[in-house]
Structures are given as structure tokens and as C-alpha cells.
Symmetry: C2
Subunit: 129 residues, 2 copies
């Protein structure tokens, strides 16, 4: 197993993610980090985002709008995706692991977890009557 060495680029990426409530794409991370590290490459951003999510330090969100998004909060939590503006928001709700039991009833395999996101209209996109 390869030892992980410090890199200021990785540190900057983690820092950036921990200080935003947005759920940026890899490209957004790249563009923003580049303001402070003009020489950083997109490959490095991808490599570090993958490394950090494998290490459990960040979350990789598959929101299915074409590209992955990243969340600096590694605690398992649910997300909401606005179908109007596309924003990804954190939801403050309990874990709903009981649905694993529901899914497992009568299923011959082993259910280990679930991936869930909610969609709808966010407060900013609700039309004012």
C-alpha cells in the first residue's frame, strides 16, 4: 500500500470543500482552486477528489446530472436536488435505514445500504402567487 504524502494542492481542495455549502463539480473546484494555485491541473483535482472520497474525508455525490458533485461533509446525509435550478442542498433528516429492511424482505441477497436523493422545487424556485 502506497503511503500518502502531504500536498498543498490536496490540502487546498479539502479546505475549499470544507468551507462551502455548495456541492461543486470537479470542474468548479478546479476553477476556484486555480485562483490561488494557478498552476494546478484538472487531473490533480480529480486525483485528489477521488483520493479524499476513498479516504472517507469527503463525499462524492452522484446526482445524475451528468457529472459528480462533492461534499466536504463526510457524514452520511441526504441531498435534495432542485429540478428547476439544479442546486444540490443538504437535508436535515434522520437516517432512514429501515428501508433496507423493507427492501430485504423476500430478497435472496444481502442488502447493505441504499443511495437516495430527493428532488422537487427548492424554496427559491417556488413561484410566488
Amino acid at each position: 500500500m502506497a503511503a500518502i504524502k502531504y500536498s498543498r494542492q490536496r490540502e487546498a481542495i479539502k479546505d475549499y470543500l470544507m468551507n462551502t455549502k455548495q456541492h461543486p463539480t470537479a470542474d468548479t473546484v478546479y476553477l476556484d482552486i486555480r485562483k490561488n494555485y494557478p498552476n494546478i491541473s484538472l487531473g490533480t483535482v480529480y486525483r485528489n477528489l477521488n483520493l479524499l472520497s476513498e479516504q472517507g474525508e469527503i463525499l462524492k455525490i452522484n446526482c445524475r446530472d451528468g457529472c459528480d458533485r462533492f461534499d466536504g461533509n463526510p457524514e452520511p446525509h441526504y441531498h435534495f436536488i432542485c429540478k428547476i435550478c439544479g442546486r444540490v442542498l443538504d437535508l436535515e433528516m434522520e437516517q432512514i435505514d429501515h428501508i433496507n429492511v423493507i427492501a430485504g424482505a423476500g430478497f435472496p441477497g444481502v442488502i447493505e445500504g441504499h443511495v437516495t436523493y430527493f428532488y422537487g422545487t427548492c424554496s427559491k424556485c417556488i413561484p410566488i402567487n
Copy 2:
């Protein structure tokens, strides 16, 4: 709005999906359809898969293994993805729409639905002791 005209390619794709329990990728659909329609193009397969799923005649599944999969059964239902072999299986379980209510509590927007899949080990991949 453009009228939709019959095409035997689209019919073959829909037929193929309705008669399989697999959840094939676009490329798999293409390769299999090509056995009967050697001249069909991948572009046509993609165009029709998108059209059919927009029409609600099939389901597009974002299983997060890089490419989308398709399901000839358009009724909402849940899927299980085996993390060992990657197979996508249908789950026979009730709709769990109560989780929308849980997610909506205290959330300022409107929750309209959720996307969920379960993962774990399928019966064929459970090691025999």
C-alpha cells in the same frame, strides 16, 4: 411539437427491453439489436432510448457505474445493484413514499419524489461457507 412516427428500430428496441429481465446498457441494447438489424447505429439506439424514457415507456436507471441502464418495465419500482458482479435486479417491495414526508419536514422547498437504489451482495455472489 414534432409528431412521432413509427420506426421498426424503435419497435425492436422496445420489444427487446420488454422481453428481458436484465437491465442492459445502451451499448448492450445496440449489440443485441444489431443481430437482427445489422445496420442500426448506436446513435439511433441512444435517440430511441431517450425518446422512450421521455414518453414513459421505459425506465432509465442511473446506477452509477459509469453508464445508464434501461428497464422495459416503466412502472416505478426499486432496484438492487450487486457490488460484486454489478448485476441490477428488480426488488419486489412496496413504494416507500413516506420517506418524502420525512425529508420534507422542516425543508423549505417542495419534495416531489426520490430516487433510490439498494446495494449489497446478490444471492449468486454470497460466498458459500
